[in-house]
């Protein structure tokens, strides 16, 4: 595979190099894109990685979504380009309106880091290639604001349109409907709180994230609506 992936770096991002390493180890070609650039350098897919863009001040993702690169990414997504937001990246995507809902503080009001079991709900998206609904994965979480909220209508829409990508088996943060990840209508924009790049090696405790990133590497551009 020679799929080129752009991993976006905002000031305060901290998982960009972990994500690059994980993708490269799977045979992809990842490169870091600086937030103030507006050129995506012809990459085939975008990852918004975890971290604390702009310190997570005001709200997670609230400042980052105004970075010049976000406009280009929105256009890229509108054209069907694959975009994966991990943790802080998921928060940026909701703030940017590219995914519905919002992420607020965990119910326990504590930051949470540790392994979680999640279940694939919908596989019709860029990270579900080759997976089947109901499959269980062990992938670590690492967040303070991972408590997914949305209006009842949105929730209903997500369910009816099969856009809930993952649910937690043992909801750690209070997310509505145990939601750990969602996609847009086309399935080419996905946001998830767990960190697949942290589950890419058995010596670190799990390899279940590798298949998600592999799926991203193989993901086709969807037909724009």
């Amino acid at each position: 595979m020679s799929r080129r992936v752009g991993v976006v770096r905002f000031p305060g991002t901290n998982c960009e190099f972990d994500t690059v390493d994980a993708i490269n180890a799977l045979g992809g070609h990842a490169e870091v894109l600086w937030h103030s650039a507006s050129d995506l350098r012809n990459v085939d897919a975008i990852v918004l990685p975890g971290g604390f863009a702009h310190g997570d001040y005001l709200r997670c993702g609230a400042i980052a979504r105004f970075s010049p690169i976000m406009e280009t990414i929105a256009a890229f997504a509108r054209n069907g380009g694959p975009v994966l937001g991990i943790c802080n990246g998921f928060q940026v995507l909701t703030e940017a309106g590219m995914l519905p809902g919002a992420l607020q503080k965990n119910v326990g009001l504590k930051f949470l880091c540790g392994m979680e079991q999640i279940e694939f709900v919908s596989t019709s998206n860029i990270i579900g290639v080759g997976a089947s609904a109901g499959e269980l994965l062990n992938i670590p979480i690492n967040h303070f604001e991972g408590n997914y909220v949305c209006s009842d209508e949105t929730l209903k829409e997500l369910e009816e349109e099969n856009r809930i990508v993952f649910r937690y088996i043992d909801n750690p943060n209070g997310s509505i409907g145990d939601i750990a990840g969602v996609s847009n209508e086309q399935g080419n924009v996905v946001g998830m709180m767990p960190h697949p790049e942290r589950a890419t090696s058995t010596i670190l405790g799990s390899n279940d994230g590798s298949r998600l990133l592999e799926s991203l590497l193989g993901a086709q551009q969807v037909t724009p609506t």
């Binding site: 609230a62 919002a102 009001l109 209070g174």
Partner: protein, 89 residues
Amino acid sequence: MDRRELVRFEVKVEVLPREGIANPEGSTIERALPALGFETAGDVRVGKVIRLQVEADSAGAAKTIVEDMCKRFLSNPVIEDTTVEVLNA
């Protein structure tokens, strides 16, 4: 607009979780209160207050600027409501 006519206004924005949206911070405080001897307190909601200064030619204009700021930036309408108050109107 003529810069010399601008006045500095001190504006206060209150950002509170929307009615119906769970407020983990408020609930946590609420749960802790009885143990600390505050049995008669309840209904706690925690939000943010943002104070800033804006230059505008009138208090009304200052308020409009900050309301725009709220909509675009200072709050997330999915979960938050805001109120804007010009303090030296």
